[in-house]
Symmetry: C2
Subunit: 110 residues, 2 copies
Amino acid sequence: MNEFELCPRFEKAVSILSQRWTALILYQLMAGPQRFCTMTDKLGISGKTLSERLKDLEQQNFVIRNVYPETPVRIEYTLTKKGMSLTPIMKEIENWSKTWIEQTEVQDNI
Amino acid sequence: MNEFELCPRFEKAVSILSQRWTALILYQLMAGPQRFCTMTDKLGISGKTLSERLKDLEQQNFVIRNVYPETPVRIEYTLTKKGMSLTPIMKEIENWSKTWIEQTEVQDNI
DNA sequence: TAAAGTTAGTTACATAAAGTAAGTTACTTA
DNA sequence: TAAGTAACTTACTTTATGTAACTAACTTTA
């Protein structure tokens, strides 16, 4: 059935980026290290799903988890070099959205 | 809860591209017009989901559906200008995958 | 010292999205 | 008349995600 004429590396890249929330999480982290609760607040993602995604991203070496044993404990997620390397893709999406997403398409999200 | 510090246009663009299969469908169509059954074969997507995605993409003006009343009927999906405008994003992903996706990460998909 | 607060999660249950496989429509050729 | 073809659709199952309550570990407040 599957003839796989698609480049498998491209397919893999898309499968990473098109998993729900992953691109937004990575984009958020491009602004600098973030804590768990900051991300749930900013993205509107559930704690359960964020927890899963961050584990996946850590395992795939996009993100590093740093523990600061303060009180209360502070845990920060930071992009690795691999994570940072996605910046041009994000910029391209950002750029595209400026031309092609209408103001009106976005109203119901506000 | 949601402070929405993210640019809503960027968020919208990501929500389009990160819906499962959408990026792969658009990428396939960049190679030229395609028929329904060609796409199910090449992508390994179910007919049901492809049908849904194509309707969405048509409605959002990424894709046009052309009916050729031959026998049996031929229906071709083609990218619009808006659909084509995503090419630089796809190229950027393609490019990224060449550097950052290892051969080994991809083996189990073949 | 007991109660309440904080961060970073996890768990159990509910809803939504996607996959599977069979069925439908409309037309044709053997 | 039977079988074939393309493009779907439908009913049912599996997987993914959301919600809200709960836990651990430590601290501050009453």
